[in-house]
């Protein structure tokens, strides 16, 4: 995985974590923890993701990536950064 700094970016505040997206918003993954399951579920560098829903009581967020729905733990979602 490429470190986040090798990506060209103009302004640092373009970077957010997935959990801060609002419903229906999209972004491109710029950094993601090294977990084989994340990669297999399509959450890899450069992938376009869309936030489908957030749960309540600290539940997971649901993302769409490559036309699949993936439920990601809130804490984990906060570790995945995206560029809008």
């Amino acid at each position: 995985m490429k470190p986040i700094d090798t990506y060209p970016r103009t302004q640092s505040f373009d970077i957010e974590n997935i959990h801060s997206l609002s419903r229906g918003e999209e972004g491109t993954i710029s950094d993601v923890p090294e977990m084989s399951l994340l990669a297999s579920l399509g959450l890899r560098l450069g992938k376009r993701v869309k936030l489908l829903s957030k749960s309540f009581a600290g539940g997971p967020v649901v993302l769409s990536v490559d036309d699949r729905s993936i439920a990601v733990d809130r804490e984990l979602a906060e570790k995945i950064t995206i560029r809008k």
């Binding site: 399951l37 009581a57 649901v62 490559d66 729905s69």
Partner: protein, 593 residues
Amino acid sequence: MAHCGPKKQRRRRKHKHHFGGDTHKTILLMGLPNVGKSAIFSRFTGLDAMVSNYSGTTVEFYEAPMTINNETYLLKDAPGIYNLQNPNDDAERVAMDMMKDRPEAIVFVLDAINFESSLHLLMQVLEYNIPTVVALNRTDLMKSRGMTIDRSLLQNRLNVSVIPTVALKGNSLDLVKYALRQTIDKEVQYTVPTENKDRWRTVEELNEEAVKTTPRKNGVDRFAFLAKPFPGIPIALLVLATMFAFVIGFGMGLRQFLLLPFFNSLVFPYIRQGVEALTASELLRAILIGEDYGFLIKGIEWPFALVLPYVISFYAMMSVLEDTGYLPRIAVLLDGVFKKIGLSGSSAIPLLLGYGCGIPAIMSTRSLPSRKQRLSVAVMVCFAVPCVSQTGAFIALLAERSVFAFLFIFFVSIFAMVIVGLIMDKINKQSVPFTLMELPPLLVPAPKLLSKKILFRVRHYLKEGAVPMVVAIFFAAILYELGFFPALGRALSPVVSGWLMLPEAASTPLVLGVFRRELAVLPLLDLDLTTVQFFTGALVALFYVPCIAMIATLAKEFNVKTALLVFIATTATALFIGGLFARGYDAIMMLFG
């Protein structure tokens, strides 16, 4: 990229598997979870396999013989996995071991919908250089999503046969078999990248070249609302309420209008006549056709006329729910709430299954991420989840007198589940692993596979549930007619009459309940009780010892100590709460009435 030819390694194919003493050549079905492997297995073997849409149900794998080129192979349905290296869980470990055993051939189910992840797994599989045939599955969904996949490009690059299939409908599976015949005796040498990073890059390049998509408006987003708290939660409640209404309504209809009339007018009269013609012994007649525990009457009526209808209606509904792929949405909705008691949302599935039978429920806890969660959920099922046989008995006992009392029992069940969960969490504090799961696309279940699955489960009930129930009733009939129960009633009378305020005869269900859950309820039917007493009995039965088979399952899945502790704790809780209710009600009535 790859080449295959008749080279060395010929010795390898002579290697056979040792399985239960027999030697079998095996063929392995591999693929991601929920991509139709079980459907292919079911179509190939014609034997019963569970086909389920929920991630994890194939941790137990199925196997059945299959004939290729006049030779019999053992087809094994490997657990659905994402990764063959550095296994993350039991399913991946099992699948990896199966690969290391070197099967004769592999049928790889390449999911057209999860193309990249499937391809990534396929490349790991090809590294083993075992003859492989690829079924490119769910091509119907693929087309409906406006996608095309260049099959010949895949075939050329990977040097494997790729056959587009729709496993759920059985389309083109003959072609897969044909390809298997062509491939199984070949020596193969596949060339695939072995470094994880290269592998993903190759996958993404292949995806770029082979897959063409016409963009469409409604993707998975169409059903996204199901996983949103609103309207997801109201919908989930509606779905579950509909499910239970159907289970009860359909089951009751089946019982009242079909099974009971059938047995009462066509079976029992002949049994009575037959027994009366065969023996004049009063004792023997009482044991066989007596009013109370007549073995040939109750031994048929209880398992087949009272309980079976609910077993059929429950599993029909549960199987539909599983095969649509809706259950993981419930897991996501409940995840946050379950976290509060140290569990993940996927615990909802074993708990729901527990309303069918506790044994598959405890076994299905295997798919939960930690031992602590497994234990918590198993104990919750033992304490507070009535199985379908018992629910059927509750309906017979309560619903026909007071629907309110029946619903209240279920309310108590849910409340108790939370309490038990909290206690288990306190005893065994552990952090909950991250939730990370795919929500499979919603599907209309295939009737053929669905009916096979329901049949399989009902047959399981007949074998594992009904037969032990008949045996238990047989012994009960003998003991009853020999005058054992009145003596037992006197012995247990301090507990039964003194504490629970039930008649002495109610000690019988307490003893029988150890063997079968519903037997803690059914004998109460024949006693002349007040609604409050019926409710006390039902309450005791709910918390009481789960049946002996569940205790045995606990001992097998965990250990004997756990099983014994659950046995003692459930009995104590049941008696304590039952008595508390009876006395509390009594006190309130004295105050106000």
